[in-house]
């Protein structure tokens, strides 16, 4: 059963058509002991089916431990939104822990569009000049964990 309605799929197709560059969704999962991994995979499958510029790569946290570690992922389900057209680990870190359902789906979509725009060099990050200036001087690791709840 599809999670997205046909009108929603159509709207998403149109939105994703505007993607200037390909985006890779790295999906981290495990077979046992993960209640929402299946749901997350279904959502991602439906999403990537809507655009040729979206690819999905699955990494098993248990079987591909080293690969998951290289991406800095230690929990599932997790999604990293990375620039497409490359096999390399993407240092730009935009990640989601948990199934991207409800409002998180919109956040994921925003992340995809942002990464796509930047990959092409087409867009600036969606931040003001002041914020960009503040960020420009940061040369040490900043780890942001944003806690949200589904709505």
């Amino acid at each position: 059963m599809a999670l997205l309605s046909e009108p929603d799929r159509q709207r998403l197709r149109e939105a994703l058509d505007a993607m200037p560059a390909p985006v890779r969704l790295m999906f981290f999962t495990q077979t046992l002991g993960c209640e929402t991994c299946l749901l997350a995979r279904q959502i991602l499958d439906e999403l990537v089916s809507l655009s040729a510029r979206l690819t999905l790569e699955e990494v098993n946290l248990v079987l591909d431990k080293d690969k998951a570690a290289a991406w800095g992922i230690d929990r599932v389900p997790a999604i990293v939104v990375a620039a497409g057209g490359s096999d390399e680990v993407d240092a730009r870190g935009l990640r989601f822990y948990g199934a991207p359902s409800g409002y998180e789906f919109m956040s994921l979509l925003d992340a995809v569009m942002l990464v796509s725009g930047l990959a092409e060099g087409a867009g600036e990050p969606a931040l003001s000049d002041e914020s960009l200036e503040l960020l420009a001087g940061v040369d040490q690791a900043v780890d942001l964990q944003v806690f949200v709840t589904p709505t």
Binding site: E35, T36, G72, R75, A91, R92, G93, L94, R95, F96, Y97, G98, A99, E104, S107, L114, V115, L118, P125, L127, S128, E130, S131, L132, E133, L134, L135, A136, G137, V138, D139, Q140, A141, V142, D143, L144, Q145, V146, F147, V148, T149, P150
Partner: protein
Amino acid sequence: MALANPHVRATIVEATEFPDLARQYRVTGVPKTVVNNTTEILGALPEEMFVRQALQDLEKVTEDSARDKPPAG
């Protein structure tokens, strides 16, 4: 922020799916942002305010660069 600077990593954590993390960081309301496991930002702030708070522990670095050019050394 994570896309503007490669040193920045942003993770959206679904609190109900990861109750252990929510407990560890004492998440009682959302959105709550934890910076480098220590600094906490509660609620949604105007963008520049959020960036400032997120970077406040790195204040030296950011102020130097925000004010003209950083002094040599």
